[in-house]
């Protein structure tokens, strides 16, 4: 598939709409202002994808949501360990860091994955009029390369290009950089562009 600037603009717009909605949901959960924006949509070659967070061996927190329904794919949220830590600290404000158990960390991250994943999908669903259902999220702590190749393999990324939607989270004025990696199966990506009247 040849993607040009109009495709990228569409994806960035979808990313921003999804991020805006997700920020609203997160704000309600946290009872404090959360902003999310999509500064950038990147198209990367398969071999370059594991380098987005500095190198394939960098340890990261990943939250995965599978997409089911009229389109199949995956949303993978990635945070560097310190970003995840700041996000968790902001969300469970009031606890001292030592009181935050691994169980709490995990459930906070899963909830963030849940909210971001499902609101992005809702925005996408209503835009393109396809029914998209997120699975429950799963979280992992491991090398970023391992999480990315796993996502690409599950979605049978036949193309050599993948889409990365960079997402900034801002909580209480502190910017926390996250990466949302949207890996649609190739036929799903075609459906998205067709639904929007852009031929792929």
């Amino acid at each position: 598939m040849n993607l040009d600037s109009i495709h990228l603009d569409i994806l960035k717009e979808l990313g921003n709409i999804g991020a805006g909605n997700a920020a609203t949901s997160l704000s309600q959960l946290l009872n404090q202002r959360v902003d999310m924006s999509v500064p950038e949509v990147k198209l990367l070659k398969l071999r370059d994808a594991p380098y987005i967070l500095g190198g394939p061996e960098i340890p990261v927190i990943g939250v995965t949501v599978l997409i089911e329904g009229d389109g199949e794919g995956q949303i993978l949220l990635l945070f560097a360990s310190d970003s995840a830590e700041r996000l968790i600290r902001n969300i469970v404000a009031g606890f001292s860091p030592g009181d935050i158990s691994n169980e709490i960390r995990d459930s906070v991250l899963l909830e963030v994955g849940n909210i971001v994943g499902s609101t992005f999908l809702n925005a996408l669903s209503s835009f393109i009029n396809l029914k998209l259902i997120p699975t429950v999220p799963a979280s992992t702590y491991d090398m970023v390369g391992a999480l990315i190749d796993n996502a690409l393999a599950i979605e049978m990324a036949e193309d050599d290009i993948i889409i990365i939607i960079v997402t900034d989270f801002t909580v209480k004025g502190e910017t926390i950089e996250g990466y949302m990696i949207f890996v649609p199966k190739p036929e799903f990506l075609s459906k998205i562009f067709n639904a929007l009247g852009v031929s792929s």
Binding site: R47, P56, T135, A138, V144, A146, D149, N150, A153, I154
Partner: protein, 159 residues
């Protein structure tokens, strides 16, 4: 000493000395072929078991096409098929979601097809570190055929 990083879907061959590396393998499988008589090593970084449509653009993305391709390249560079030995690593399942195991156990399928393909080609597997739920970095030392494997929280292994 040469240190060559083999990216997703790529392959490389070195002779005499140097290290071939796959960084952060998840469900991907690194297949190392070694001819000790020539001190020649080849490494393929496999993403998927088999092509779904006939796709010849990048054979080493797939186990079923990548291993025969690597073998051919090594023979072309002077390796002898009868002395080749294989080591494989990777093929993890990085996360679990209840009821979706069939979809997400791609690592296990990669390992299965890699083993079947090696068997069909008559190349014995002399070392293996596959499966589990951890990412792995592998370093393949061409001088003696050692493969070092690093994983977070598990330390280093050699096969």
């Amino acid at each position: 000493m040469d240190r060559v990083v083999v990216g997703i879907g790529e392959w490389s061959v070195l002779k005499l000395n140097g290290v071939l590396v796959c960084l952060g393998l998840g469900s991907c499988v690194g297949v190392a072929l070694y001819d000790s008589s020539k001190k020649m090593g080849g490494l393929a970084h496999i993403l998927l078991p088999r092509p779904q449509v006939s796709d010849n653009s990048n054979p080493t993305k797939f186990a079923s096409t990548g291993i025969p391709f690597l073998l051919e390249e090594m023979i072309r560079l002077g390796a002898s098929k009868s002395s080749l030995l294989a080591k494989i690593a990777g093929g993890s399942q990085m996360f679990s979601i209840k009821g979706r195991e069939d979809k997400i156990n791609i690592g296990a399928r990669n390992v299965e097809v890699a083993k079947d393909t090696l068997k069909d080609l008559g190349i014995p597997i002399v070392g293996e570190d596959t499966g589990g739920s951890m990412g792995r970095t592998i370093e393949f030392y061409v001088s003696d055929g050692t493969v070092k494997i690093k994983a977070i929280g598990r330390g280093e292994r050699k096969i």
